[in-house]
């Protein structure tokens, strides 16, 4: 056991490359980050940004093989996830790290009862009797807000609604008290009103158990209110990272800024022209040279297509109330924006 001051998760220069018929697809291309104990990190990006592959690679679900290369390191509590044998790695899943997937219908086995899903996980990792496992299962279902837990144990996944199923998936993930929860688009497949409930649930569970969480999502709104820090991904690379409040209040990367501006705001009048990002995300088998966002960037300069910008710390705190020492903010851009820097915190501006 390492000293509690070290971060729980240290990801360093992680690269996941899929070798396809069309060439090497660099889904994750040199991403580093850390997650402290009890901290929540949001990984935001559009489809093709590599955020989901990143989550799975961190989990060790994507390992080097014939068609995939994983390089870099993932240290979970000091242990290199990818250096472990298959069996040792499997023992991490549950007590150390657990995952909640996007689609609760496909992540539950349709022919197994809810109870079986839970007790199997419990008995595999915790070495307890059938009755104990059952009691714990009931308790877990109660914790995730499922009414009549004892009756639910006997039901099959298809007998539950989408939100209820996602709660079951969360209960399974929590079964062995993981220290890190990776939630990969946990609410995307759910209805709006249920999304809110699930995010509330995850938030309170994380707090109660002082568990760390990585919330992977394309929904900026969901990440904005639920995470301590956020990392914005584009085309397999990190473009910006920092404390959630700072990033949303004053985005410094043109992509983050444009992404925030492109979302319709509820308090804007109808028929407001949206600031769209022109073009489409790059083909990851043939990414553009230099900054990957350059072809779509509204403020690109001549040098943007030349060299790939590195992720560098920003020294100057730009939002009010953040002392420079705790200002952990990094941007990968040759020409970080400043236009929104002094906008009122609480919402993107610049229309």
């Amino acid at each position: 056991m390492t000293a509690p001051t070290t971060p729980l998760l240290v990801v360093d220069d992680l690269r996941t490359v899929f070798h396809t018929a069309r060439g090497a697809v660099r889904a994750v291309d040199g991403v580093s980050f850390t997650v402290a104990r009890g901290e929540t990190l949001g990984l935001v990006g559009e489809s093709g940004s590599g955020k989901s592959v990143l989550g799975r690679t961190v989990m060790g679900l994507i390992a080097t093989g014939a068609t995939t290369t994983v390089t870099g390191s993932v240290l979970l509590d000091g242990q290199d996830v990818h250096g472990l044998s298959r069996g040792r790695r499997r023992r991490l899943w549950g007590p150390e790290v657990a995952m909640v997937f996007q689609d609760p219908m496909t992540s539950l086995n349709p022919v197994k009862r809810v109870g079986t899903h839970l007790t199997e996980t419990l008995r595999r990792h915790l070495d307890c009797s059938r009755a104990e496992a059952r009691d714990r299962a009931v308790d877990l279902l109660r914790q995730v807000g499922i009414p009549e837990p004892a009756r639910r144990l006997r039901q099959y996944p298809h007998e539950l609604s989408g939100g209820m199923r996602q709660r079951v998936v969360i209960a399974i993930a929590l079964a062995c008290d993981p220290r890190l929860l990776i939630a990969d688009e946990p609410t995307t497949a759910l209805d709006v009103t249920v999304q809110q409930q699930i995010l509330d649930l995850l938030g309170s569970l994380v707090e109660e158990r002082s568990m760390a969480m990585v919330l992977v999502s394309h929904d900026l709104g969901a990440v904005a209110g639920r995470t301590d820090r956020v990392q914005v991904m584009y085309a397999g690379r990190t473009v910006e990272s920092g404390r959630t409040r700072d990033v949303f209040a004053a985005p410094r990367h043109p992509y983050t800024e444009a992404l925030l501006a492109s979302i319709p705001q509820l308090d804007a009048p109808p028929h407001t022209v949206l600031r769209a990002i022109e073009g489409t995300p790059p083909d990851m088998a043939r990414p553009p040279a230099g900054c990957r966002f350059a072809p779509r960037c509204a403020v690109r300069h001549d040098d943007c297509a030349g060299a790939m910008p590195a992720l560098v710390p920003l020294s100057m705190p730009l939002s009010v109330g953040s002392p420079a020492a705790s200002y952990d903010r990094e941007v990968a851009c040759h020409h970080p924006t400043t236009s929104a820097a002094f906008a009122a915190p609480g919402g993107p501006d610049g229309r």
Binding site: G145, V192, T193, D200, S262, P264, P270, G346
Partner: protein
């Protein structure tokens, strides 16, 4: 939300589309799904009506029933002054072509085996080109593609799988515009697209509406998106209407408890301050056996016995704002 009623209809004005007492039901194992029950709506020329609701509220079924795809179980649909229900197959197809549909998944809405240049003019292939010769046809394809922001040189010869989702949705919109329709029905046109592409398509729809003088029905689940594009918003729950209100300022003016719930569910930064017990999961009612009276009552904080016994009718609580609830007042 039981909400029935016709208070919100504007009989005194010329209307591009009128839907009266629309019912859509289909049999499934174990009963009948009441997808849409007694829906009334109208659409003025040049107006955009947003239909807001979650999955299973019947918004997509309603959109398709208006298109007569398939025809509704009951009710009438009047396009301009032509009543569609009851027309013969051929006449129906012709009348329906004045109304066009844009679907959620643009990639699967395009035949994978055909090229973009053939896809966009499919409607004209069906209904005739008028006096255009081959050169006129090619020019028309290019004009349409340019109008939806695609470079004809690049995409003309491509097949759908060679395009991105956003590009496919542009092709779908171009195809709908080719027939110069009066009414465009958009069924979740941006929900399968990336955030950055979503804005492009919303802007494009807005431009197209002005340029082609369209009336639009915009069906979606995202409050902010619906508010942005619509003039008037109709909120649906389990096949019934809850509230009809002007989109301007709806985040402040909405009264129906369900509309409020939808608004509260929009994630925002202030969620960080939300603390306390997260909501218990509730059993959502099934459209096979919807609750009596107001269909929203099982989830409603204001529900009383009256809500179970009596279905609320749409009442005009503020000018232009109609709410189907026994309890709220302006």
């Amino acid at each position: 939300m039981a909400g029935s009623g016709t208070a919100h209809l504007r009989h005194d004005q010329p209307r591009a589309l009128t839907v009266d007492d629309l019912v859509v039901e289909f049999p499934v194992a174990g009963g009948t799904v009441h997808a849409v029950s007694n829906l009334h709506l109208d659409l003025l020329p040049g107006e955009t009506l947003g239909i807001l609701g979650e999955s299973g509220c019947g918004k997509s079924s309603a959109g398709r029933a208006v298109m007569q795809l398939p025809p509704p179980t009951a009710g009438t649909v009047t396009l301009g002054d032509v009543e569609l229900t009851g027309l013969k197959e051929k006449e129906m197809r012709r009348a329906r072509a004045r109304m066009q549909l844009v679907l959620q998944d643009p990639v699967s809405a395009l035949n994978p085996r055909r090229k973009v240049k053939d896809l966009v003019v499919e409607g004209l292939e069906i209904w005739g080109w008028g006096e255009r010769d081959q050169r006129g046809k090619d020019a028309f394809v290019d004009e349409l593609l340019t109008a939806v922001g695609l470079d004809p040189e690049v995409v003309r010869e491509r097949r759908p799988h060679e395009l991105s989702g956003g590009q496919c949705q542009r092709v779908c919109i171009a195809r709908s515009l080719a027939l110069d329709p009066d009414v465009l029905i958009c069924d979740e046109p941006v929900s399968s697209l990336d955030v950055s592409v979503q804005a492009q398509i919303l802007n494009l729809l807005e431009q197209a509406r002005e340029r082609y003088r369209l009336s639009m029905v915009f069906i979606a689940h995202d409050v902010a998106v619906v508010k942005n594009i619509s003039d008037r918003v109709m909120v649906m729950y389990l096949g019934k209407t809850c509230e009809v209100l002007p989109s301007d300022g709806l985040e402040r003016t909405a009264l129906h408890p369900y509309t409020r719930l939808l608004l509260d569910s929009v994630p925002r930064e202030s969620d960080a301050e939300r603390r306390g017990e997260p909501a218990k999961a509730v059993e959502l009612p099934s459209p096979i056996d919807p609750p009596s009276g107001c269909r929203f009552r099982t989830r409603c904080p204001l529900a009383t016995d009256r809500c179970a016994a009596e279905e609320p009718q749409l009442r005009e609580l503020r000018p232009g704002q109609f709410v189907a609830c026994h309890h709220v007042e302006a």
